[in-house]
C-alpha cells in the first residue's frame, strides 16, 4: 500500500483470525455481484442471495421493499461479532466513533430546528441513541467524550455565523477527521487519512463543476496525507495544476479516471466507485497479515461496503435503474 506502516502482530487474536478468515470467504464475490446486477426483478436479486450471509433474513421479508431490514440485521450481526472477537476494546470504540459523529450531527440539527429527528439516529455508535437524546435534551454535553464536546461547540458556532446547516456539517466533519486521523491505531488512522484525502479531492472536483474552487479552504478536511499548503496552492492555480499535483500521489488513477468520466458524462458515479475501491484495496493489505486486530477492522470495512453496495443494487432494481448505472457504482 501507499503509506505502509507495520501492522500489529498479536497472537491474542488467534481465535478471531480463524473466524474472520472463514467469514471472508462468504463475502459476496464479483460473480455474485454480476448476477445481482443482471437480475431481472428485485425478487430475482434477493433469490441470488440464497446461501450467502443474508439468506437467514430472506424468509422474514414479505417484499423486496423491506431490504433495509435485512441490511440492518446483517450490520447488527457484524457489529455483535466484532464486539465478541475484538480483544482490545478501544479499537471497537474507534470503529463506532463515526456513528457517534453522525448521531451528534443529527441531534445538533434537531436542537437548532426544534424538530424530532430521532428516527435518523443510528444504533451503531458508542453512545446509544436514547442516551444521546437525553444528553441533548438536558444539555449535559459534559457527559460526552471531550472530542465530541468540541464538535458540539464548533458545530453550533459555525451554524450561528451564517445560519447555514452546511457550515455545521463541515465543522462537525472537521472535528471527526481531526479525531480519526490521530488515532493510536496506525491501520485505522491511515485509513481515515486516505478518506480525508479522497474527500478533499472530491470536494475540489465538485467545486470545480460549480466554478467555486475558492471555497475549498472553508471545507478542507484536515489530517490527510496530502500536504495542505501544496494542496491549496494547486487548487487555487486551476484544475490542470491540481491534476498535476495529484499525479505525484497514489490517488492519481482515481482522479484521472474519475475526472475524465466527470467531464464526459457530467457524473460523479465513477469517481465515487474508484474512491471506494481505493479504500477497499487499502483494507485488503490485511490479506497478507498473519494475526492482529487489523484483520477484524478490514472485515468490518469490507462488510460495510458490501451492505452499501447491496443497498444500491436493491434500490436500483426496485426503481428500475439501468444495469450499467448500477454496475458503474458498485465497488468490489
Amino acid at each position: 500500500m501507499i503509506y505502509p506502516e507495520r501492522l500489529i502482530e498479536d497472537e491474542r487474536y488467534a481465535y478471531a483470525m480463524g473466524v474472520i478468515r472463514s467469514l471472508e470467504q462468504r463475502l459476496l464475490d464479483r460473480s455474485r455481484w454480476e448476477r445481482l446486477i443482471e437480475a431481472e426483478t428485485p425478487d430475482d436479486a434477493l433469490r441470488t442471495l440464497a446461501d450467502s450471509d443474508y439468506s437467514a433474513y430472506l424468509p422474514e421479508l414479505s417484499s423486496p421493499h423491506e431490504y433495509e431490514r435485512m441490511l440492518v440485521r446483517e450490520r447488527e450481526r457484524v457489529h455483535g461479532l466484532l464486539e465478541r472477537l475484538m480483544v482490545d476494546p478501544e479499537y471497537l470504540v474507534y470503529l463506532r466513533t463515526p456513528f457517534d459523529y453522525h448521531n451528534l450531527r443529527i441531534m445538533l440539527k434537531a436542537k437548532i430546528k426544534e424538530m424530532n429527528l430521532s428516527h435518523l439516529l443510528t444504533p451503531f455508535g458508542n453512545i446509544p441513541p436514547a442516551e444521546m437524546e437525553r444528553i441533548f435534551q438536558d444539555e449535559r454535553y459534559d457527559k460526552l467524550p471531550s472530542h465530541l464536546q468540541v464538535a458540539v461547540e464548533r458545530g453550533v458556532v459555525a451554524y450561528y455565523e451564517k445560519y447555514r446547516m452546511d457550515m455545521l456539517d463541515h465543522a462537525v466533519d472537521r472535528c471527526m477527521f481531526e479525531y480519526l486521523t490521530s488515532l493510536e491505531f496506525p491501520f485505522m488512522r491511515n485509513y481515515w487519512r486516505c478518506v480525508a484525502d479522497l474527500v478533499n479531492i472530491r470536494t475540489v472536483l465538485r467545486l470545480d463543476v460549480r466554478d467555486e474552487r475558492e471555497k475549498m479552504r472553508w471545507v478542507y478536511m484536515p489530517g490527510g496525507f496530502l500536504p495542505e499548503k501544496e494542496f491549496m496552492a494547486a487548487c487555487d492555480a486551476g484544475m490542470d495544476s491540481f491534476l498535476h499535483f495529484i499525479s505525484r500521489f497514489p490517488y492519481r488513477e482515481v482522479v484521472e479516471d474519475g475526472y475524465s468520466y466527470l467531464k464526459r458524462e457530467n457524473s460523479f458515479l465513477r469517481f465515487e466507485r474508484l474512491m471506494e475501491e481505493f479504500l477497499l484495496r487499502y483494507l485488503s493489505i490485511t490479506r497478507y497479515h498473519y494475526m492482529g486486530p487489523e484483520v477484524l477492522v478490514s472485515y468490518w470495512g469490507k462488510k460495510e461496503q458490501e451492505i452499501k453496495n447491496l443497498r444500491i443494487v436493491l434500490s436500483g432494481k426496485i426503481n428500475r435503474v439501468p444495469q450499467e448505472v448500477i454496475r458503474e457504482r458498485i465497488a468490489v
Partner: protein, 155 residues
C-alpha cells in the same frame, strides 16, 4: 547414588519439560485459529487436524529423550553411581532435544496457525501448508538425533 545422578535427572526433566512446553504453545496457537475456523465451518475439521497436531511432536521427542536418559541412568530400577562429570554428560545430552524442541514447536505453531488461516480460505491448499510446517519439524528431529548420538556414548 553419586551427585551425578541429580544432574542426570535434571537433564531428563529438562528434555521433557522444554519439548512439552514448546508443543503446548504451538498446538495452543494453531488450535485456537482452527477452533475459530470450525466455529464457522465445522466440515473443515479433517483438513485442519494435521496442522494443529504437527507442533505436538516435539513434546513426544522430549519425552523420548527423557525416557532414554532415565533408562540409561538406571532410574527405573537401580540408579547408577554417577560422578559429577558423568552426570554433567547426561545433562549436556538432554540439551539438543529440549532446546530445539521448544523453539521449533513455537515457530511451527506459528507456521501452522498461518496455514490454518490459509486452509480456511483455500481448503484445497491445506497440504501445502502442512509441508511448510513439516520443514520446521526437521530441526526438532535433528535435535532428537543429536541427543540420541550423545546418549549412545553415555556411561
Amino acid at each position: 547414588m553419586g551427585d551425578g545422578i541429580l544432574l542426570a535427572m535434571a537433564g531428563a526433566a529438562l528434555a521433557a519439560f522444554f519439548g512439552g512446553v514448546g508443543s503446548a504453545i504451538g498446538v495452543g496457537l494453531a488450535g485456537r485459529v482452527a477452533t475459530g475456523v470450525l466455529a464457522e465451518d465445522p466440515n473443515k475439521f479433517g483438513k485442519l487436524f494435521l496442522l494443529v497436531a504437527l507442533p505436538g511432536t516435539q513434546g513426544f521427542y522430549g519425552f523420548l529423550g527423557a525416557i532414554l536418559l532415565i533408562a540409561k541412568a538406571g532410574l527405573l530400577a537401580n540408579p547408577k553411581a554417577l560422578t559429577l562429570a558423568e552426570g554433567f554428560q547426561y545433562f549436556i545430552a538432554s540439551i539438543p532435544v529440549g532446546l530445539a524442541g521448544i523453539v521449533s514447536a513455537i515457530h511451527q505453531g506459528k507456521v501452522c496457525a498461518a496455514g490454518v488461516e490459509m486452509g480456511a480460505k483455500q481448503p484445497e491448499a491445506t497440504m501445502k501448508a502442512v509441508i511448510y510446517g513439516a520443514l520446521v519439524e526437521t530441526y526438532a528431529i535433528l535435535g532428537l538425533l543429536t541427543t540420541i548420538f550423545l546418549w549412545l556414548k553415555l556411561p
